[in-house]
């Protein structure tokens, strides 16, 4: 394996030796290159996937990309981040949240999880065959290991533990299929983070199907990371008849991958991560019980959120608890702002300040509303 800045020599650079190699490889109908990302930043790696998909001619050759990230939550293209993960916990733990361009459900990445992306032309798109590479590779190195791919394109260990999930993306002429592979991930962090942020969300976003998971290392203790990578690359070559070389790449290198920083910046942006959430509504009951007097009271909240912004907000509060004009003012203050507690609290503070004697009650109402948002 060699470290190269950018994939130039392998993807057809201009030096003498490489040119010959390039021409020879061109004459065969299919060839491939295996890339391993040096970077563990989820946004850079996702941007690298986009870059390869957009810039490499996949009609002539396929690419296999191997990568892993520091702890991160990755949601599917059409998912709702508020339902998929606990955003407050994620922020507190300093774990980034990313939305990928492929479909499917939410996953938790960490350094014990290997991601594989199979880039091919649309004609050569075959997810089952890609998963066969993984199951064959695992069985060859740990014979007797019970791993098989399901119809849902998961890989199950011992018939019940999920060790791999799949997602893919198809563009005009190219496609990529990526999947996770749990080698030695931190399962406790996973369960803390993958739970809904707020109650009462009603949406048509793609739901995630939770499954019990297991780490390969627990069931095949001799299978170290490097060996896993090696055996996967070898099986990839065997299955598809390639003689692909493997090389390291640095997705943070703008001169090797022009335009990649912009792609990564877009993936980091609020507009992509939250703004691409399909339209959803929040319908929930707010508990307004006075702690001191123990007088029970409640209100109904009905909010529509589109592109991550509050499109409409209605509060149904008993008239004797709070005059309608105040609850309407509070509701209106939220409209047009991001569905985000920090931003909303600024808008709401202005309304609460002006409310005079009923400030206490209005504050309790606004706190209850804000606790729904995260």
């Amino acid at each position: 394996m060699s470290y190269i800045r950018g994939a130039w020599p392998l993807l057809g650079g201009r030096s003498g030796v490489c040119r010959c190699l390039h021409r020879n490889q061109l004459s065969s109908s299919s060839s491939s290159v295996v890339l391993q990302s040096r970077c563990t930043d989820v946004f850079q790696n996702l941007a690298l996937e986009d870059w390869i998909d957009a810039n490499v001619d996949l009609q002539q050759r396929s690419v296999l990309l191997l990568w892993r990230n520091h702890p991160a939550v990755v949601i599917g293209r059409h998912q709702n981040p508020w339902t998929e993960c606990d955003l407050t916990a994620v922020r507190r733990m300093g774990i980034p949240l990313a939305r990928r361009r492929s479909g499917g459900g939410t996953v938790f990445h960490d350094l014990g999880n290997l991601n594989l992306t199979f880039f091919t032309s649309k004609k050569a798109y075959d997810r089952k065959r890609n998963l066969k590479v993984i199951t064959d590779a695992l069985r060859s190195t740990a014979p007797g290991l019970d791993v098989h791919a399901t119809d849902r394109l998961d890989i199950l260990l011992n018939g019940r533990y999920k060790i791999s999930g799949t997602a893919s993306r198809l563009s005009r002429k190219s496609s990529y299929h990526h999947c996770t592979l749990l080698h030695s991930a931190d399962r406790s962090a996973l369960s803390t983070v993958l739970r809904p942020s707020c109650p009462g969300i009603v949406s048509n976003a793609t739901p995630s199907v939770p499954s019990p998971v297991a780490n390969l290392l627990d069931h095949a203790p001799m299978l170290q990371w490097e060996e896993l990578v090696d055996v996967l690359v070898r099986q990839y070559n065997t299955e598809f008849g390639f003689s692909a070389v493997s090389a390291f790449v640095d997705p943070a290198d703008e001169s090797a991958f022009p335009g990649i920083s912009r792609a990564a910046a877009e993936l980091r942006s609020w507009d992509w991560t939250f703004g691409k959430t399909p339209k959803f509504s929040v319908q929930t009951v707010l508990d307004l019980t006075d702690k001191e007097s123990a007088v029970r009271s409640s209100a109904h909240l009905n909010m529509e959120v589109k592109h991550g912004f509050v499109n409409s907000c209605k509060l149904f509060v008993p008239d004797d608890w709070l005059p309608p004009h105040l609850s309407a003012a509070l509701a209106n203050a939220l409209v047009g702002e991001r569905f985000c507690r920090r931003r909303a609290s600024v808008c709401v503070a202005a309304v609460v300040c002006d409310s005079g004697d009923l400030r206490g009650r209005l504050r309790r109402l606004s706190d209850a509303v804000l606790s729904v948002m995260s």
């Binding site: 057809g12 201009r14 009609q59 002539q60």
Partner: protein, 425 residues
């Protein structure tokens, strides 16, 4: 024009299309052998070949039902997740129309025609059937209605980077005049940020992009990393100017990298100017005191791990190299902290180099030598340089170049409790 493309795209373009590769071996083979008819969808190409003025008014053509094509794997239905167009929008061939999802696969459907969207057959979250109409497009009368997707795309793709760029999931709108300007300057439309309506690329955007390209000079990468160097930096100016591709020979010496970043000087105006006027002569530099506690346990662990490795290479690794590097990274976010003003406070100069000074108690008294271009150095390089300065400092041999040119200073009041001191920067 095809034969003189330069820079890092050269190798990439070889991969991009077979057609392009064929053209490379035939320097005069600019004209395609295929009949002109098939290329007629590409307006810019028409303009280039026919040398006529292209107007945006086109006569209406037939309304075509654009059917949802086969997605593969025997999938017969998908869910429409997002529309990128609405009725009445103008689309070009290869523009993204919508995003559909099926069985964990997210698919971008792109237009096969140029024209105007007349009807959307599905709402968001509806189920669309493969082989059934997805949208109606009113095509232009002079464009061919393309039935065979594969036949048309190959020649058009060779022009793609010059005329119409599509990054998956985005459409780049631009008028033919703008596309021609981009093509003449070898600019990929996908790299230009459009500031017009719906992200449309305007002429100003192309001109701004050009200005940025000629002005910006990327610093070469530091020599300590062992790698085969990439081709010369991407810039329209470089591409136009150079006449031959040259791969830089791998550096064999450990000479310092030559930094060619430019300082940016601009006149001080408005708010800043007013602020400066109120400062008294004695306080030439604004003082800002801020105290904070930071949990460095992870840094402590990291340094313990790296100390032996650094020691083997003859470097004493303290915490300072980490802090110095952190400061430099911070200055990238807040360049104003790496700026200085001239005598009359008329202009503020944002320094391009991060020359970070470190206060040292030396035999010559308190001195502040600085480490040059920290933005280019790794933590290890910084430790090496810091050691060098410390050794020279203790011998009283710090030179003028070491003591001048500092842009930012870090003081380490190591022995005093951090809670009771201000770190002056």
């Amino acid at each position: 024009m095809a034969a003189v493309t330069r820079g890092s795209f050269t190798a990439l373009r070889r991969l991009l299309t077979q057609q392009y590769r064929r053209r490379c071996f035939r320097p005069h083979g600019f004209r395609s052998e295929r009949p002109l008819l098939l290329l007629s969808n590409n307006r810019c190409l028409q303009t280039l070949q026919c040398r006529t003025l292209h107007t945006t008014m086109v006569s209406r053509g037939p309304v075509v039902q654009f059917k949802l094509s086969d997605i593969g794997e025997g999938i017969m239905e998908v869910t429409v997740k997002e529309w990128y167009v609405k009725e009445g929008d103008r689309v070009s061939q290869f523009d993204s129309i919508c995003e559909v999802q099926s069985d964990k696969a997210s698919v971008t459907i792109t237009s096969r025609y140029d024209g105007v969207i007349k009807k959307l057959y599905y709402d968001v979250d509806a189920t669309a059937l493969v082989g059934k109409p997805l949208v109606d497009i009113e095509t232009e009368s002079n464009s061919e209605v393309i039935q065979e997707e594969d036949v048309v795309e190959t020649p058009a793709m060779a022009r793609e980077e010059h005329t119409h760029q599509e990054i998956k999931g985005h459409k780049t709108q631009a008028t033919p005049a703008v596309r021609r300007l981009a093509m003449e300057n070898n600019i990929k439309l996908s790299e230009v940020v459009g500031t017009g309506k719906d992200g449309r690329i305007l002429k100003e955007d192309i001109l701004n992009f050009l200005a940025k390209q000629t002005g910006a000079i990327l610093p070469p990468t530091p020599v300590h990393e062992i790698h085969t160097p990439g081709p010369a930096q991407v810039s329209a100016a470089a591409r136009l100017a150079s006449t031959s591709v040259a791969i830089k020979a791998p550096p064999t010496t450990t000479a310092r990298a030559i930094f060619t970043g430019k300082d940016i000087t601009e006149p001080l105006t408005g708010f800043h100017k007013a602020m400066v006027k109120t400062m008294t002569a004695a306080l030439k530099i604004p003082h800002f005191g801020y105290c904070d506690e930071v949990d460095l346990s992870r840094l402590v662990t990291l340094r313990e791990e790296l100390k032996p490795a650094a020691g083997h290479r003859g470097v004493k690794l303290s915490y300072m190299p980490f802090f110095i590097k952190a400061v430099s990274l911070g200055l990238l976010h807040y360049p104003i902290l790496n700026a200085s003003m001239d005598e009359g406070c008329q202009n503020i100069t944002y320094k391009a180099s991060h020359n970070i000074g470190v206060a040292m108690d030396t035999s010559q008294g308190l001195l502040v030598p600085n480490l040059k271009n920290v933005q280019l150095l790794s933590v290890f390089d910084i430790a090496l340089e810091l050691n060098r300065l410390q050794v020279l400092g203790s011998k009283g041999q710090l030179g003028t170049s070491d003591l001048t040119g500092g842009t930012f200073t870090l003081s380490n009041i190591g022995s005093v409790s951090p809670l009771q001191t201000h770190l002056f920067m």
